[in-house]
Structures are given as structure tokens and as C-alpha cells.
């Protein structure tokens, strides 16, 4: 074997392209891009073995700004392209990027199938609860009553929750982050990349033009600590400006409730401890949205299962090994043949 030349570890900058970034000034996508470039450097990734695949939308422009391989495809279908890429070359580290319209309006079916098949990809959904690129129509994640060019009197649809949907779709890894949290986001991307199987990451992203401040109720500086809980495996669900709020399971109603440690005899021991392998818990965490309960951030669910592309290639390899017919000429001559003429 050849001696492998030790490559120099790349920096975040090495993952930036020379293309002018075409998002609106102040768009949350910039922060996500930055976090991704940092995560790539942190992980020691190479540029040539990573592929970013996206649909259409503001979010979906992401690949143009990563100095890796990239494929900006069509609206809603990125998971399907990514599946073809990963099956063709499992050595590639494949990322899928799209907005809430791309992934949950036109593309939710492909999203579901890539998650249930557990193809080893990272699917990043930048959720700004609006269609940015097409100038601000409401999306399937928009809150009821959203006024938009297509819903001038307010939307009347019940929105879908991305993480809840991913769980129902059979995802094996579900995480949630916020665009501006540079402290947390690279780590989430890294965890997603390290997970073998389909990783689903929802990034709450502020669209400064068409839906500015839609997450303020839990991202505003003065409420953030009280309205966000960063979950960690094996740790109790504690949060709050004073570090004394917690989440407890109410056994009567089989639902979660906010409690204050020290009040009404509540102690840390009463709180739920995060177990990323528990689907039921993941379902309850995903449903926490910063209104009645704080929004749950971090890796909500993670379970190790066989990946699709590995299983497909195992079958192909087994077939090759056990094949009795290995040349096309032999294959064409299997079954009933006869000599004629001459």
C-alpha cells in the first residue's frame, strides 16, 4: 500500500467558496453557514468527501457556499437525489439542506422515506416558518393566523411540527437547534454527522424579511433562559435564568409539566432525565415549542440501527460472492437455449 500523505487539517475558512453569498443581509442562514463551516473544521472533514445536496429555496442555496461538492437540485426532492448519491458511493458524507417549504410542503414524502429507510445522511431543515425565496407565502410550519400574500386574512391550517413529523416518519436521530446559537449548532451538526443513519436536524432560522422575530418568544435575550431547555443524555431537564426550572412527567395526565425546584417540595430527583433512546420521551420533547413549555434543543432522539446503503451493499456483495454466473455471455445463455440453422 502507498504511504498515505498526512493531510493538513482544514480550517472553517477552507470550507467557504469564492461565491458571493446571496442571502439578505441579516438572514439567519449566514449564522448556520458559519456554524457548518466550523463544524466541518472541528470534525477534520475534507472538502472532497462531503456533498451538500439541496432543493430550492433560500436555505437550499447553501451548497453554493460550501467548498465541497454540491448539488442544487429541484424543489422538495433533495432526499431522493441524496439517496442515489449515497447508494452510489457510501464513502461520501452526504448532507441534505432545505427549508420548511422544501422539506415539509412539497418534499415531506421524500423526507419520510429517507428517514424510515435510515439512509446515512444528515438532513438539515432550516425552518423559518415561511417561504422566503418566493417572497413570503405561509408554509406548513407557519402558525395559524399567519398573514401572507396568499393568506391576506391569516392562514387557517394547523401547522406541522418538524421534529414530531420526523419521529412519526421513523427517524433514528432527531435534533433541534437555533441559527444564532454558535455555541450549540456546530456540536449538533457534528453529532448528526457522526450518527450512522439518517439524522434529522431542525434549525430554527430567522427570515428577517418575511417572518422576522417569529421565534422571539423563546429567543429574545430576556426570555431565552426560561424558554429553552438544552437536553443532554443522562442529565435532568433543568433550565431557567436561575437554573431552577425543570420538566416533570405528570403521571395522571401522561404529559409534561414545568416545575420549579424548591417549590412545592420539588427536587431535582423529580425531574425527567433525558434518555435519547426513548421514543415516547422524544415525542413529548419534540412537542415542546416554547409556548406552554420551553422549546427543547439539542439531540432529542438517537437510536442506532442498520443503515440502508450498508444493507443494500451487503446484498450486492453477497450476490457477487455466491454468484455462479459471472459473465454476461453466461448470463445470456442461462435457461433454455437451442441451436438453429447452419
Amino acid at each position: 500500500m502507498n504511504a498515505v500523505t498526512q493531510k493538513e487539517k482544514l480550517t472553517a475558512k477552507d470550507f467557504a467558496t469564492d461565491q458571493e453569498v446571496r442571502w439578505c443581509p441579516g438572514c439567519g442562514d449566514y449564522a448556520i453557514l458559519k456554524a457548518m463551516q466550523k463544524a466541518m473544521a472541528d470534525m477534520g472533514q475534507s472538502t472532497e468527501d462531503n456533498v451538500f445536496v439541496s432543493g430550492i429555496g433560500c436555505a437550499a442555496r447553501f451548497p453554493y457556499y460550501m467548498a465541497t461538492y454540491g448539488f442544487h437540485t429541484i424543489h422538495g426532492r433533495a432526499p431522493a437525489f441524496a439517496t442515489g448519491i449515497k447508494l452510489s458511493n457510501p464513502d461520501l458524507n452526504v448532507w441534505v439542506v432545505g427549508g420548511d417549504g422544501d422539506m415539509l410542503s412539497i418534499g415531506a414524502n421524500h423526507l419520510m422515506h429517507v428517514l424510515r429507510r435510515n439512509v446515512d445522511l444528515q438532513v438539515l431543515l432550516f425552518n423559518n416558518e415561511i417561504y422566503g425565496l418566493t417572497k413570503g407565502q405561509y408554509s406548513p410550519t407557519s402558525r395559524e393566523g399567519t398573514r401572507s400574500p396568499s393568506t391576506p386574512l391569516g392562514s387557517v391550517d394547523r401547522p406541522i411540527d418538524a421534529c414530531t413529523y420526523a419521529l412519526g416518519a421513523g427517524a433514528t436521530f432527531i435534533a433541534r437547534g437555533i441559527d444564532s446559537q454558535q455555541k450549540h449548532l456546530p456540536g449538533i451538526f457534528q453529532a448528526a454527522s457522526e450518527h450512522k443513519g439518517a439524522s434529522f436536524v431542525e434549525v430554527l432560522q430567522n427570515c428577517i424579511v418575511y417572518n422576522d422575530g417569529v421565534f422571539n418568544e423563546f429567543t429574545d435575550r430576556d426570555v431565552a433562559a426560561d424558554r429553552q431547555v438544552h437536553v443532554e443524555a443522562g442529565k435532568p431537564l433543568i433550565y431557567g435564568a436561575d437554573g431552577n426550572k425543570g420538566i416533570r412527567l405528570n403521571l395522571q395526565t401522561l404529559s409534561l409539566e414545568e416545575v420549579v425546584i424548591g417549590e412545592n417540595g420539588v427536587t431535582e430527583a423529580d425531574l425527567l432525565v433525558h434518555d435519547p433512546s426513548n421514543r415516547t420521551l422524544a415525542g413529548m420533547l419534540a412537542a415542546m415549542n416554547g409556548r406552554e413549555l420551553p422549546v427543547a434543543l439539542g439531540v432529542l432522539y438517537c437510536s442506532q440501527e442498520a443503515t440502508y446503503e450498508a444493507a443494500v451493499h451487503d446484498q450486492i456483495n453477497a450476490a457477487k460472492q455466491s454468484a455462479k454466473i459471472t459473465s454476461f455471455n453466461d448470463l445470456l445463455r442461462t435457461g433454455h437455449t437451442w441451436v438453429a440453422g447452419g
Binding site: Q19, F81, T337, V339, A340
Partner: protein, 619 residues
């Protein structure tokens, strides 16, 4: 049990140049199997042949209904056989419904073999008969052989220990035995085949063999008013043969084509009648490195194949018309990013769900024109089951050499029909290896081969060639996003020219039958090959001035075609649609061609084409 209508046996077999036999019965009667066995025996007997399996839309239609009738037709002869035949010379009707549905196809005076055991009141009623056709003289125009096949089968297998139900399932073998006798076929390979197939259930094998032998014996021994037939051997190109269906030949051709391109093949598809068989066949070819992916829908199927091409494999997808409709947006992307992609369309009767199990050629418009924007692609069409192999290889060549989507048109008839196939020697085919781009200096993904105009293909994973592509218009000189007017004009023209360049790499259009000029050219494509070539040959034999041109390359058209057509006074275009190639030819060459159009879910009959040719020559 007596065989009522059989009479005196004449001394020797009648010689026929060719014969058309149709086996028809209930879906559960095993007609496809019977037909398949008869085909094999006939091939071994040295006849040329063509077949047409014609089964119902329902999975298992209720017993005895007309829509549950399953039929298998074979045309075989001492001369070369081009179609599965027009009128049947012999019809086997296993029940009243089969008779009801199929009788109109039997030529007057034709032989009608009927299982009287199934002609009870219940079945007659289900088939919509008010009176029993065996008793009301309505079959007087035919030569009828009525046999209580059910009873004779039960009798033949009575020692097998099978249940009544299982015993009765041997009816088809009894019938096959009888028809073997009729045409002087050898039973041995079928006997061997049955023993192999039911190796684990020898009692079933033996019962079937007993039935086969009993049917044969009845022919040999009974007193009939006809002698059985003899169809002499045909003159066939010498070599090793097998039967092949379009679906099989396509699967082989695609896999071989990818190997000639020297890259792995990725097949993303979603089941749909009549295209699913291609998926099934390729799913069994994993040892050749073929990856098959049953996607969640046609869109994902196409997209996964494009993704595979992006990653450096040969992406192939397949469907039938309604499914191809769903793929067109993705195909537009493949056109825009200029990646290889093969789209196999096994056409069926439409619009919409239409008649999924019936054949039609009506997706030519969709293939040539059916996309938004100026989106030129390559369109090829296979003429017969065996031809699918060659056309598939051609599709692989063009897709990879020109970095372009290629439509490959088959149809329900070609897909399911089988024909004897002179097995090609794969080692004699020219390779057309893909050369992935590796040079980092000056690289951008829309660097072009100056000859073909194909763009550079750089595989993800290659250091130094990292690049981003997408559906937005790209700068001709850098491959980056570009919205400038001049560039869009240039790129549009380049895409158009690239496809036009394909024509430089294909052979001149030849004339299948006849002269390179004259009174009338009949221009066909796809599965009309059989009836058209036979009809033209027949009429040329009569001395009529008519020639047959058959297109494999639908788009771009062969460079010489316009000139060739201008050498004929008239042009007739038979199609199983309302005139789609016709539009293309008229628009391209302003040739005052006329259409002969059949949209009945069934192949042309030779006689229909002949009549139209006569009309054209006389008018």
C-alpha cells in the same frame, strides 16, 4: 367419457407454411404457462415464431368472467415470422368466457378446440351467453373439436392422489399434450421441465405429465376428421438461440451497456404496469454490480438515478407514460446540469390510467416535446423484444458520451412478448469507456468536449475538483450561476447543438425492405416493425412499389432521413397513436406524410397495414 364430435382419422399431416394458435382460458387456467411451453417446443422444432401474451388487468378476476380471460398467442412458421399473427388458425377455448372474447379473432374455417367440461349453465351465464353456442349452431363457420378436457384430465390423473382441485389444474397440460400432437411437437423437454420444476413435489409433476401424455394420446388414437399439421423448419440464421422478452433483453442490454461504458449501473424505479418487469429482472442481477432501488414514487426514482449519475454511476429509471409524466421536472434538471440518464418508457394505452395492460405507442410526443422550456433530449425506440438489447446499449453510449438524458421507448407488447433470439456475443461489442475528469488545472464542470459538446464529468470524492452544480442557468465559461441574457442564449443553443451532434454518431437511415426511392415509403418506429415489414414484403411480392423504413433514432433523426424521404412520392406513417411521429416528420421535413393510426390497445394486423398501403398506392 367419449369425445363426441371426433370422426375418422385421415392418413397424413397437412403441411402449413405458418400457423397462428391462441390459447385462451380463465386467469386460473394457466394459459401463459401453456403458451410458454408450446413456444419452447416450437422453437426446438426449428420454426421461426413470435408470441403475444395477453392477460387481463385484474390480478385474479373472478372465475369464468370475460374480463378474467387470459390468452397467449403464437405465430410460427417455415418462413420468418414478424408478428404474433392476425387471425388465428387455431383457437383453444378453455371456457365459455374465452370463447366469447376470442372467437372473433378466429379465421373462418379455423380450428376451434373447446373444453366442453366448462360449458355449464353457470359459466355460460357468466360469459353472457343466453344459449349454449355449442348447441345453437352459431359456430358453424369453424372446424370444431369439442372435448371434455376437464373430465379427461380427471381421468388421466386419477391415480395421482391429488385433490380434485389440484387434479383439475392439470387441464392445461392435457390441452398442451393435445396441441403438441396437433403440430407434431416433442413432449420430452416439457416432461423434463415439469420434473425439474416440481422436483420437490413429484406427485404434481407426474400428474401433469400424465395429463400431457393423455392429451397427446387422444390426438394419436382418436378418430378425427383432420390429420394434424406439419410446419416445416424455417431458414434461420445459424447460431445459439433462446427466447427473450423485451423486459429481459432491456435488462441485459442496460447492464451490458453500463459495462461497455465501464461504470456501474444504478436503477431507480417505481412499479407500474407494464414496466415493472424490468425492475424485477434487474433486481436479480446484483452480481453484476447493478444497484436497484425501488423508490417511493417515480419522482424519487428519477431523482435517485440522477443523483447516482452525479456520483459517477450510470443512472437509469423506468416507468410507463403516467409515471414518466411525473419525472419530467427531474429530467429537466438532468438536461440543465447535463448528466447521463436513461429513461425507459414501456408505453401503455392512455390517457391517464387508460388500459394499463394494453399496448400503445402514444408517448412519443411526451418523449420528444414533453417538457417545459427548450429541453432537447435523445429519443430511441426498440422495434422488438430482441432489439431492446441493442437499443439499450445505444442508449448507454449516447447518455454517457453526450452527458444527456436519453429516452428509450418500449411498449407493453414488446415488453411482454417473447421471440427467439440469436444470442449475441457480448465480447464482440465495442467499449465506450467513460473518462472521468481528473485534471484540476483550469477545471470547471461545464468545460466541454469540443467535438461532442459534452461537458466534463467529475466525480465527488475527487480532490481538487470540488464543484457545485444546479438547475439555475450556468455561465458558459465558468459554470457558475449566470442570469445574463447572452449567456442564456449561448447555453440554450449549446444544449440544442449537443443533441444535434448525436446525429453525427449514428448510422445513416437504411431501408428495411424495398428501394431507396419510389412510390411509397412506409415509415414505422417501435413495435409496428413486425406487421409493417411483413405487409410491405407481402405487397412487394405482389409487385407493388412500396418500401419500409423503420426508425430507431427518433430524436435526433438520422442525418440522411429528410433526403431519403424526399425520394418517395408518398409517405405513410403507421402508428399506434393518433399521429405523433407523423407530426415530427412533417415539421422537420415538410414531407406531406399521412398517418395510419390505430388506437385499440392492440398491435396492427398485417392486413390492416396492407389495406392502407393499397389505399395509398391507389389514391
Amino acid at each position: 367419457m367419449t369425445v363426441a364430435t371426433l370422426q375418422e382419422a385421415p392418413p397424413k399431416r397437412l403441411e402449413l407454411e405458418s400457423a397462428v394458435v391462441r390459447f385462451a382460458g380463465d386467469s386460473g387456467d394457466g394459459m401463459q404457462l401453456t403458451g410458454g411451453q408450446f413456444t419452447q417446443a416450437t422453437a426446438l422444432a426449428g420454426n421461426d415464431l413470435a408470441t403475444f401474451p395477453d392477460f387481463p388487468a385484474e390480478i385474479r378476476a373472478p372465475v369464468g368472467t370475460t374480463f378474467g380471460v387470459s390468452a397467449f398467442q403464437i405465430n410460427f412458421g417455415a418462413r420468418d415470422i414478424r408478428t404474433s399473427g392476425d387471425a388465428f388458425d387455431c383457437l383453444v377455448a378453455m371456457n365459455p368466457a374465452a370463447l366469447k372474447v376470442e372467437l372473433k379473432g378466429l379465421r373462418p374455417g379455423g380450428l376451434l378446440i373447446i373444453d366442453t367440461g366448462s360449458f355449464n349453465d353457470r359459466n355460460l351465464k357468466k360469459a353472457g351467453y343466453d344459449t349454449n353456442p355449442l348447441e345453437d349452431n352459431s359456430l358453424a363457420a369453424y372446424q370444431i373439436v369439442t372435448i371434455d378436457i376437464s373430465a379427461l384430465t380427471m381421468e388421466a390423473v386419477k391415480d395421482s392422489g391429488l385433490s380434485k382441485k389440484d387434479a383439475l389444474r392439470c387441464k392445461n397440460m392435457w390441452t398442451l399434450g393435445y396441441v403438441y400432437w396437433l403440430f407434431g411437437r416433442d413432449r420430452a423437454p416439457t416432461v423434463d421441465g415439469l420434473r425439474a420444476k416440481f422436483a420437490k413435489k413429484p406427485e404434481i409433476a407426474e400428474a401433469n405429465i400424465a395429463a400431457l401424455n393423455a392429451g397427446h394420446a387422444l390426438g394419436e388414437t382418436s378418430e378425427v376428421d383432420f390429420p394434424g399439421y406439419h410446419v416445416p423448419q424455417a431458414e434461420i440464421a445459424p447460431g445459439l438461440y433462446r427466447t427473450v422478452t423485451g423486459a429481459e433483453a432491456l435488462a441485459y442490454g442496460l447492464a451490458v451497456g453500463a459495462s461497455l461504458a465501464e461504470i456501474p449501473m444504478f436503477f431507480g424505479s417505481y412499479p407500474i404496469t407494464p414496466a415493472s418487469n424490468l425492475l424485477h429482472n434487474l433486481s436479480r442481477m446484483k452480481q453484476f454490480g447493478v444497484t436497484t432501488f425501488q423508490a417511493e414514487d417515480e419522482i424519487a426514482a428519477a431523482c435517485s438515478a440522477i443523483g447516482a449519475s452525479y456520483a459517477g454511476q450510470l443512472g437509469v429509471t423506468s416507468s410507463s407514460g403516467p409515471g414518466v409524466a411525473l419525472k419530467t421536472e427531474a429530467i429537466g434538471l438532468a438536461i440543465g446540469v447535463e448528466l447521463p440518464l436513461i429513461i425507459v418508457n414501456v408505453q401503455r394505452a392512455g390517457p391517464s390510467t387508460g388500459m394499463p395492460t394494453k399496448t400503445e405507442q402514444s408517448d412519443l410526443y411526451q418523449s420528444v416535446y414533453g417538457r417545459n422550456a427548450d429541453s432537447p433530449v435523445v429519443v430511441l425506440a426498440a422495434r422488438s423484444p430482441g432489439d431492446c438489447f441493442e437499443v439499450a446499449i445505444e442508449a448507454c453510449r449516447i447518455a454517457t458520451q453526450f452527458m444527456t438524458p436519453v429516452y428509450l421507448l418500449s411498449d407493453g407488447y414488446i415488453g411482454n412478448a417473447s421471440e427467439p433470439w440469436l444470442i449475441p456475443d457480448v465480447d464482440t461489442y465495442d467499449h465506450f469507456p467513460v473518462k472521468f475528469h481528473t485534471e484540476t488545472e483550469g477545471f470547471h464542470p461545464f468545460l466541454r468536449n469540443p467535438e461532442t459538446l459534452a461537458r466534463a464529468w467529475a466525480k465527488p470524492g475527487t480532490p481538487g475538483l470540488e464543484h457545485r452544480i444546479g438547475g439555475i442557468e450556468k455561465d458558459y465559461n465558468s459554470g457558475h450561476i449566470s442570469y445574463t441574457p447572452e449567456n442564456h442564449q449561448k447555453m440554450t443553443e449549446t444544449r440544442l447543438q449537443k443533441i444535434a451532434n448525436v446525429a453525427k454518431t449514428i448510422p445513416d437511415q437504411d431501408v428495411e425492405v424495398g428501394e431507396t426511392s419510389g412510390k411509397l415509403a412506409v415509415v414505422g418506429w417501435g413495435s409496428t416493425f413486425g406487421p409493417v415489414s411483413r405487409a410491405v414484403q407481402n405487397l412487394r411480392d405482389e409487385g407493388l412499389d412500396v418500401s419500409h423504413i423503420h426508425l430507431r433514432h427518433i430524436w435526433p433523426l438520422p442525418s440522411n432521413l429528410g433526403k431519403l424521404l424526399s425520394g418517395y412520392e408518398k409517405v405513410l406513417v403507421p402508428e399506434m397513436n393518433t399521429g405523433q411521429l407523423l407530426t415530427v416528420l412533417r415539421a422537420e421535413y415538410l414531407t406531406p406524410a399521412k398517418g395510419l393510426n390505430k388506437v385499440a390497445g392492440q398491435p396492427f394486423k398485417i392486413a390492416e397495414v396492407e389495406a392502407a398501403i393499397r389505399d395509398e398506392l391507389e389514391s
